[in-house]
């Protein structure tokens, strides 16, 4: 189906199901329960899941296939955002031209950065990309202020009057898709649950599915095989009549365009951009996402992006009051002791939890979360006896590569 083999098609369908039903899946706890804290089914976070999923899928095409570790990919995300933002300010508030512009601008920038950086490999390549990204960040912050808005970044203002819109004097434009507001939501209350279906999320999700589908096609193509050959043995490649440079450059530009798409979508969702989007920590984050989920696997980067964004937004919101609520059943002295122990790992300390999880994954599961899923699956299939339905179901629900 769709030019995919059975296994890949099934994976695509699973991802399709998960993204379309995300408002339900991410909201498992009724809003009155203490666990409602862990619900992630609100539009802003769901949008981030899929947008950073796109970013990580693209990064994985470069890092997972060719092994070239770019440490400056956030630059393409940022450049794509600025491109999309200007398209909205000047041309149309429709998100489609903005997103296309984001992809094009990031692609052109990636050609330039890749052409220079890919002259070196290994750590030198990483440092070159990092240098480019930090230069972009510094330029956006200072010299390029007329274009980037400097520290305050760019927003849509009441003075903006895009070419293809008929805004009333002083009206602040809103991002839309042929008239449909990105912030439009349909809320469904079922008992104690409130499910939110957000237009922006579904548009981003459709882009994510297309990106994911294209990534599968690239992975399974002769081109994808050549990229893995680059990672495996460049010497053999050159002595087999193949020029590795254009292959790596093509992979670099494709992944840069994925980042530009993610950047454009970010702007489409919240119509603002600032230089911090290009800061090196943002580049590091996508590296973490890809490795945490499983570099070189199809679904890994999406899982990694989800896991990190979930922790960033959920773990960081837990504060001392919530901990007191949770541990209220304990005797006073013990309660305080437990809270003192747990406190550094939540709220602003969520990075500590992320760091520990990341270390554990790298040491014990070098293949990332995907490898974890495969191990669980193997565990169950080994224990499985004929006719044992429960084990069968459990193994099916683990993520397949």
């Amino acid at each position: 189906m769709l030019g995919l083999n059975k296994k890949d098609f099934r994976l695509l369908m699973i991802v399709l199901g998960l993204t379309m039903l995300a408002p339900f899946i991410l909201n498992p706890f009724p809003s009155s329960s203490g666990l409602a804290q862990f619900n992630a089914g609100y539009p802003d976070l769901m949008q981030r899941f899929v947008i950073f999923g796109i970013f990580a899928i693209g990064f994985n095409i470069l890092f997972g296939l060719t092994g070239y570790l770019s440490f400056g990919h956030a630059a393409f995300l940022g450049v794509g955002s600025y491109g999309a933002m200007w398209m909205m300010k000047l041309f149309s508030l429709n998100v489609i031209p903005a997103i296309i512009m984001g992809v094009i601008v990031a692609g052109i920038f990636a050609v330039a950065v890749g052409y220079v950086s890919l002259r070196r490999s290994g750590i030198y390549f990483s440092i070159l990309t990092l240098a480019f990204a930090q230069m972009s960040y510094a330029l956006a912050y200072s010299v390029l202020t007329p274009i980037t808005g400097g520290e305050t970044g760019l927003q849509i203002k009441s003075t903006d009057s895009p070419l293809l819109s008929n805004l009333a004097e002083g009206e602040i434009g809103r991002a839309n898709l042929f008239g449909m507001d990105m912030r439009a939501s349909y809320e469904m209350a079922v008992g104690d649950w409130l499910f939110t279906f957000n237009a922006g999320y579904y548009i981003a999700a459709v882009f994510m599915l297309i990106s994911f589908y294209l990534a599968i096609r690239i992975f399974r193509s002769p081109f994808g095989t050549m990229l893995r050959a680059v990672k495996s043995n460049q010497t053999r490649m050159y002595y087999t009549g193949l020029n590795a440079r254009p292959y790596t450059l093509a992979a670099f530009v494709i992944s840069g365009m994925y980042a530009g798409l993610a950047g454009g979508l970010l702007v489409a969702m919240d119509t603002q951009v600032g230089p911090e989007r290009m800061f090196w920590t943002a580049s590091g984050e996508v590296v973490l996402m890809t490795i945490l989920g499983g570099a070189g696997t199809l679904i890994g980067p999406v899982l990694g992006a989800g896991a990190i964004k979930y922790m960033e937004n959920i773990l960081s919101k837990i504060n001392k009051d919530i901990l007191h609520q949770w541990f209220a059943f304990l005797p006073d002295g013990l309660e305080d002791f437990i809270i003192t122990l747990v406190y550094p790992f939540i709220g602003k300390g969520w990075h500590l939890t992320l760091g520990l999880i990341f270390m554990a994954v790298v040491i014990f599961l070098p293949g990332g979360l995907v490898e974890g899923g495969q191990r669980i699956k193997r565990l169950f299939s080994r224990k499985k006896k004929p006719g044992d339905d429960e084990a069968d179901k459990a193994s099916q629900s683990t993520p397949a590569e």
């Binding site: 193509s221 002769p222 081109f223 050959a229 043995n233 002595y239 009549g241 093509a250």
Partner: protein
Amino acid sequence: MGILEVKDVNKRFGGLQALGDVNLSVEDQSVHAIIGPNGAGKSTLLNVLVGKLIPDTGSVMFDGQSVLGRKPYEINQMGISRVFQTPEIFGDLTVMENMMIPIFAKRDGAFRMHAIESMAKEKAIIEQATEMLENLNLADDRDMHAAAMSRGNKRRLEIGMCLAQEPRLLLLDEPTAGMARADTNATIDLLKQIKDERDITIAIIEHDMHVVFSLAERITVLAQGTPLVEDTPDNIKGHPKVREAYLGESA
């Protein structure tokens, strides 16, 4: 005129004259061995032939065209394939993928952006690669990671990958170095079979005299970067200068 003509090639590394006035002519469709003691310049010469090193002076012509200044992949596309001392294969890829890549390189050239087509739909290439693997007795390992194969099988695969490109000249750099006798003999048999079945020229650098004398039709002896003699195996065996420089008195 041979298919490969090396004329007056010199190469210095600092104070070391690695190659001095090397002249070499390899007959079309012959097996030509280059032997010599350690440090005689065999590897340097090979690296010049494949474009990894550029000589200070001299010319290298392959089939009437100069190879100097061309990149390794361009020289490969001209019809020169190289087998390395330690097998260079794509260890992370399956044996089948290893075999398909050179066939892609032959069909599509140095770069082609076939990013949306499916590997599984390349029927002609799959068929050709399967046939190659069957000829090499590697068909059972087709889905194995190439890195997991035995040393001897890696060597077979590498030679097979080079042959899949249908080169005019096959360069082998000590193809049996570090191999057990059984693997060495298997490699000799494979090379003999290749020589009989194909219109191909083979140039081989080798330490193992057993390999050299079982395969070569012509032998060039290098010593201190300069060809000492070039002759048939029988004459080389008895040549006093060669005994002195290389084989040692006892040989």
